[in-house]
Amino acid sequence: MPDWFRRRHAPPGVANDSQSTGVPDVPAGVFTKCEKCGRILLAKDFERDLKVCPRCDHHHKLSADERIAHVADPGSFQEMDAGLSSADPLGFPDYAAKAAKGVSVSGRPDALVTGTAGIGGYACVLGVADFRFMGGSMGSVFGEKFARAAEYALDQKIPFVVFCASGGARMQEGLLGLMQMAKTSAAVAQLAEAGVPYVSVLTDPTTGGALASFASLGDIILAEPEAYVAFAGTRVAQQAQTHKPPANYQTSEFQMEHGMVDRIVPRKELQTTLVRVLAFFGAPQQSSPLAQAAAAANGNGEMGEPAKSVGRNGKGPH
């Protein structure tokens, strides 16, 4: 181990990103360390391993962009409704500041990214929540983008795949936040009625109003290992507890044991598992007209620019 690893303070010019895990400070860029076991990892290995710790198998949270890069075929993702942003409908204390922070941390105007993608050549609509934007909470933008994406999947008769990483309804939007549970669930109901597949993937964390709505409604529900999957937060639950919780309480494993999750899938197998699921559903191949149109749109425009008008609000993928 290099000498500077043992120093409490980083040498000049090296960023100090120590978390208080009792692990020495790590120079940014070259090294990183596991949030759970504290193991020092080479950043490039960590990226190659999809941010899964080789020692303790901890699955670190991914940003929406990282997730998309992992599961979608290269270059296939065409974002939809990228411009929607929160309106602070209640004038809630500090909401604007928190949303602004979410924008700067995640580089996105809200907590859900949607678009069309190919997964192993199968066309689908993909929704990915980004926990870094206000805990992936469900505000009006989240619900609207979810509904538009579902409606696009319905219109195109292609599967809707959603990665959840969300603490639930966004308090700062009050009842409008709560109603996103109904809005997303009603959108899923439209898919179910029309026989359009909907796949839900629970990642760390999936809690509260997210789990009690769209996240629990997948025709197939997958989960990443040891993700926090819970109705009520630990603190709330402890106060209410009359029963002793098991050691794996409110994890993916606990939820699967109790019949709430179809399958726990390690991150490195997630893409191939999704391909098998989409194959079962008979999802159209990306060589379909939709995929060609999307590819054409990709060729003439940058991500985030409108390409063509489809769907309910005239916003198709672009």
């Binding site: 929607l84 409908p89 309804a169 009050g174 009842l175 936040g177 996103q180 809005k183 109705f231 029963h243």
Partner: protein, 339 residues
């Protein structure tokens, strides 16, 4: 702005009413005419009530919604329905005391009634889990809704819960799944649904039986994404700032109406529903009958598309690409749309 809470204020009113009673008793004993005196005292009481209730804070509404004397679902049923035949069980695991349901007849027409139920005394509170419904409750509710759908009967739900049960057994049996399933199934249930928030509309636990064609709310009921105490402890790490949280979250019936979350605010008698449950029941009944009549006229296709649109349209956000004529935005921010 009143400096005392509604519960403290009610003590004053109790005192006043004690005086009125005493004056009557003395008059009865001494065979004296006190009509004018009594009328005066009552006028005074009503003026105080009116003044206080005109300036209720959101937190006062929380206290009223949780009032120990507030009428619960079971108190309203005999006031609305000619009969009520309770039915039990989810056919899967258990019967939930916090969620009641059954068959009833509304002006001679058969309906399915579902409601959350708190307990009046300690024993009943334990049996009904303080109104915190368990997965079995939501599954029983859905079973009865499906029954209503199959036999083409309207569904009427009464919402009154602090929230869904968060204990280990409920988590084990999928409380989230039970609520989520209800949200999905209610949004496509092929029969009219009217929901009334009569007391506490506690978050997803309330919404789990309130995805309806018409959502009505008693004047002093509250409906919120999280309990004010919970909001205050998460945001400010201080549950004592609950009144502030209640204000910020806009949880009153008037707020919910302004946000487009509910369809109608049902007025309560002066001083709150518990001061005149019968009169409150009459108001609820009139509104339920009227709304059922309206939605009952719609074809099934129209009913379902309206219900979908109703919840689909809930949300306010900024859409830079929205065509300017496609929305009716609030004047102060032309980019904000309610689709």
């Amino acid at each position: 702005m009143p400096s005392i809470t509604v519960l403290e204020f009610e003590k004053l009113i109790d005192e006043l009413e004690g005086n009125i009673r005493k004056t009557r008793e003395i008059a009865g004993r001494e065979n004296r005419d006190v009509g004018v005196e009594i009328e005066d005292l009552e006028k005074n009481r009503d003026a105080l009530l009116r003044e206080f209730f005109d300036a209720l804070t959101p937190w006062d509404n929380v206290l009223l919604a949780r009032h120990e004397k507030r009428p619960y679902t079971l108190d309203y049923l005999p006031l609305l329905f000619d009969d009520f035949l309770p039915l039990h069980g989810d056919r899967l695991f258990d019967d939930d005391g916090a969620m009641i349901g059954g068959l009833a007849s509304l002006d001679g027409k058969p309906v399915v009634v579902i409601g959350q139920q708190k307990g009046r005394d300690l024993k009943e509170r334990a049996q009904r889990n303080y109104g915190y419904a368990r997965p079995e409750g939501y599954r029983k509710a859905l079973r009865l809704m499906k029954l209503a759908e199959r036999f083409n009967r309207p569904v009427i739900t009464f919402v009154d819960t602090p929230g869904a049960d968060a204990n280990v057994p409920s988590e084990e049996r999928g409380i989230s799944e039970a609520i989520a399933r209800n949200l999905r199934e209610m949004s496509v249930l092929r029969t009219p649904i009217v929901s009334i928030i009569i007391g506490e509309g506690g978050s997803g636990g309330a919404l789990g039986i309130a995805v309806a064609d018409r959502v009505l709310m008693l004047q002093h009921a509250v409906y919120s994404v999280i309990a004010p105490e919970g909001c205050a402890s998460i945001l400010w790490r201080d549950p004592a700032r609950k009144a502030e949280a209640a204000q910020a979250m806009q949880i009153t019936a008037r707020d919910a109406r302004a946000l487009g979350i509910i369809d109608e605010v049902l007025p309560e008698p002066l001083g709150g529903a518990h001061r005149a449950p019968e009169a409150t029941g009459e108001v609820i009944k009139e509104a339920v009958v009227r709304h059922l009549k309206e939605v009952g006229r719609l074809s099934k296709t129209r009913l379902l598309s309206s219900r979908y649109e109703k919840f689909r349209s809930l949300g306010r956000f900024i859409d830079p690409e929205a065509p300017e004529d496609s929305a009716t935005p609030p004047a102060e921010n032309p980019a904000v749309v309610s689709p």
